[in-house]
Amino acid sequence: MTTEQDFLARVAEKLGRSPESAPPPFRPSEPLPAIGPRGKDALADRFQMELEKINGVVHRVNDASEVAPTIVRILNEAPAADPGKSRAGDQDGAGTVGRTVVRWADPLLDEFDIDRALEQAGWQPVAFRQGDDGRAFVARVEQAHAGIVGCDAAIAETGTIVLGSSPLGGAEGNGRGSGDARGNGSAGGRGRTVSLLPPVLIALLRKEQIVFDSAQLFRRLARAPMPSQVIFKSGPSRSSDIENDLTIGVHGPGALHVILL
């Protein structure tokens, strides 16, 4: 097998020099410009407009107390797009997706008393607790009707929510995320699959978490250690692989609801 040394030596040789020990800093001839509106409300409006264009649903709430009832309303009103058919565990038409709802156990969601509201409405909340078995958790997530997460940030330009497998660091002080400025690397209560496997995804976003464009976000990410996974999610899962015909909800959730606080 080729070793790192040989591999890199060959590259350097082709480039006509000996291997460099470190890359020179890259400075583009012009820095990326600051763009877009700045006001919280303008950003929120733009975010909503863009997300709606790509089949996402935005629910505006004015008060923290409205969050849990809104979640319940979404769950009751918007059953998963044909959950019984599209779930692996339900191929035989048993249709028992059940009333399970998975959610992040995370400070982003803590204050809203979501579990109690869910239980009162007949839904069964599930979250990962330290010490739980990961595989078993994923299996439960797979059976859940919906996933509930908190956003770490959002990008107005494209209607994108940003979700880390652990909190993002690097906030410039205004972001009311749960992460500290260094990023804490290991918040166990989240889970990548919560936003991925269930047919419905509900994400909580605060206005002040919205930035206009991705460059701002990447700069923030660069200021702290990266979580093991960060996703930009823009609308529900989609494909155009069948005769270029758009279809929603191929592998990921078929419905995306953002509760904007």
Binding site: M1, T2, E4, F7, L8, R10, V11, K14, L15, G16, P19, E20, S21, A22, P23, F26, P28, E30, L32, G36, D82, S86, R87, A88, Q91, G134, V138, E157, S165, S166, G185, S186, A187, R190, R192, L196, A215, F218, R219, A222, M226, P227, S228, V230, I231, K233, S234, P236, S237, S239, S240, D241, I242, E243, N244, D245, G249, V250, H251, G252
Partner: protein
């Protein structure tokens, strides 16, 4: 003339397949128009100060990023590798396809893994990973809807972004029906729903997830996957082990550079402002996290790429595989991807394939281009694909790879036409030389038909104007006399 080459046979087959041509034309046109519209929007947004730049500006930035990265590629690879290791990943180096496949196999063996699931990746097609694994008795399932379709059809992708571009819903329903063991309806929802349910099971039981990477950020060792369906996320979240095979040119220096790329890639590929998922993976699952792979392997692949460095073709390595050049190519539109015979079809395939794999099998591809330049115009990295095709033709000709009759004809033209006296003589007598092939129309005008030898290539399907009895340069003298008389 000599017998048909395999390439020409494939071309003939494609041109005779109305299904295929209809499907390819429809989708390529659609993607082309969507791209065009979204780029026009981008220019408007940039004008309003609501985009990082218009198409030209972003393209220039992307070029600058890639040019810098390629110039220091060894150092960026080193930096990326160090970061990946720091994040808990394992880095491997493969100089060719064989080594890359070997590495994947060994990782699987060590884990006792038998079942793999893969998200869409061109580089694993390039190294024929599926065949290598299947030969060892492993199961590897494609999870991108389009890739899944062509895997069931036992074909290769016909497009680098839309693998099943050539398949009709009827054909897809038949393929899925064979898996389901029952007849399926042909509507998109049923078909996509079936794939979702089937593949979900595969995801839940897979031992290893295999991905490529659209970008790798050197400063953080972050792998980036751009998808719409979510298969990239599933592959990198559910199976206990993730292996990413990455062409060594995929690096960008900094996270911030992704902003430029992310503005260009989805727009160029599918006409979207952004894809549904942009997934950044920095290491395996961390302690205390409930899910994500416990092992993350990154295989950096050369496979001929280093031969392109520091040559006149170097910019070809800045390709982000968006497919815009395919969608805008008038030849691809007629043929679809399979006629090219290479994993990479269309303009980028025509250039990249002989560069990676040599002329022996691939010099003919260079002829499947009218040099219209639409590819270069639409390429988000401004890669001058048609210029490279000319340069490669030059290399092929220098190696004597050319039809002998064509060579004779071109050499004769060069001899005669670089001597103005000879040129004039030939021009004045041309109409005499083609007399046997000259036909007369009802109105008395003349044309040529049934020309012999290589010129039959023209007249088999087209008439040709007859040469003038008096070429313009002779007519010029008359015009001057007329002028003098005024």
């Amino acid at each position: 003339m000599s017998a048909k080459t395999p390439f020409l046979e494939r071309v003939e087959k494609a041109l005779a397949d109305d299904h295929l041509r209809g499907a390819v034309r429809y989708t390529a046109e659609n993607l082309y128009l969507k791209r065009k519209a979204v780029m026009a929007d981008l220019d408007v947004l940039a004008e309003k100060g609501e985009a990082l730049g218009n198409f030209e500006e972003l393209r220039a930035r992307a070029q600058e990023i890639k040019r810098h990265t390629l110039a220091h590629l060894d150092a960026y690879l080193k930096q990326a590798a160090e970061q990946i290791r720091k994040n808990g990943g394992v880095v491997h180096w493969a100089k060719d396809a064989r080594e890359a496949n070997q590495i994947v196999l060994e990782i699987c063996k060590k884990r006792g893994a038998k079942k793999l699931i893969k998200s869409k990746s061109m580089v694993t097609e390039e190294i024929h990973l599926n065949q290598a694994l299947e030969a060892e008795g492993m199961e590897i399932v494609e999870s991108d809807l389009g890739e899944y379709i062509i895997q069931l059809a036992r074909e290769t992708p016909a497009h680098i972004v839309i693998p099943a571009i050539h398949k009709t819903r009827r054909q897809i329903a038949d393929l899925f029906g064979a898996v389901a063991g029952r007849e399926l309806a042909t509507d998109t929802k049923t078909l996509a729903g079936f794939a979702r349910a089937t593949l979900r099971q595969k995801f839940m039981t897979a031992d290893v997830g295999v991905t490529g990477a659209n970008f790798v950020v050197a400063e953080t060792g972050t792998l980036c996957l751009v998808t719409n369906e979510g298969n990239g996320r599933l592959t990198s979240s559910v199976p206990p082990c993730q292996i990413s095979v990455v062409g060594m040119e995929k690096l960008v220096p900094r996270l911030e550079d992704l902003a430029v790329m992310l503005n260009l890639l989805p727009r160029s590929a599918t006409g979207q402002k952004i894809t549904t998922y942009f997934n950044m993976i920095t290491g395996p699952r961390r302690p205390g996290e409930p899910d994500g792979p416990e092992e993350l392997h990154v295989i950096f692949l050369d496979n001929g790429r280093s031969n392109i460095l520091a040559t006149q073709y170097q910019e070809v390595l800045s390709c982000i595989r968006c497919g815009a050049c395919l969608n805008s190519c008038p030849v691809y539109r007629q043929l679809g991807g399979h006629a090219y015979g290479s994993i990479y079809p269309g303009p980028i395939g025509t250039v990249l394939t002989p560069l990676l794999q040599g002329f022996d099998q691939w010099d003919e591809l260079l002829q499947a281009c009218s040099l219209c330049g639409a590819c270069a115009e639409n390429c988000p990295l401004g890669i001058q694909l048609h210029k490279h095709i000319i340069r490669l033709r030059g290399e092929a000709v220098a190696q004597g790879r050319e039809h002998p009759l064509m060579r004779t004809a071109l050499k004769a033209v060069h001899f005669a036409w670089t001597r103005p006296g000879v040129y004039k003589f030939v021009a004045r007598s041309a109409h005499l030389g083609v007399k046997p092939f000259t036909r007369r129309r009802e109105d008395g005008s003349e044309y040529l038909d049934n020309l012999p030898s290589i010129a039959a290539g023209w007249t088999n399907s087209r008439t040709m104007p007859a040469p003038a009895r008096k070429p313009f340069h002779q007519r010029w003298a008359e015009l001057q006399r007329e002028e003098g008389a005024k």
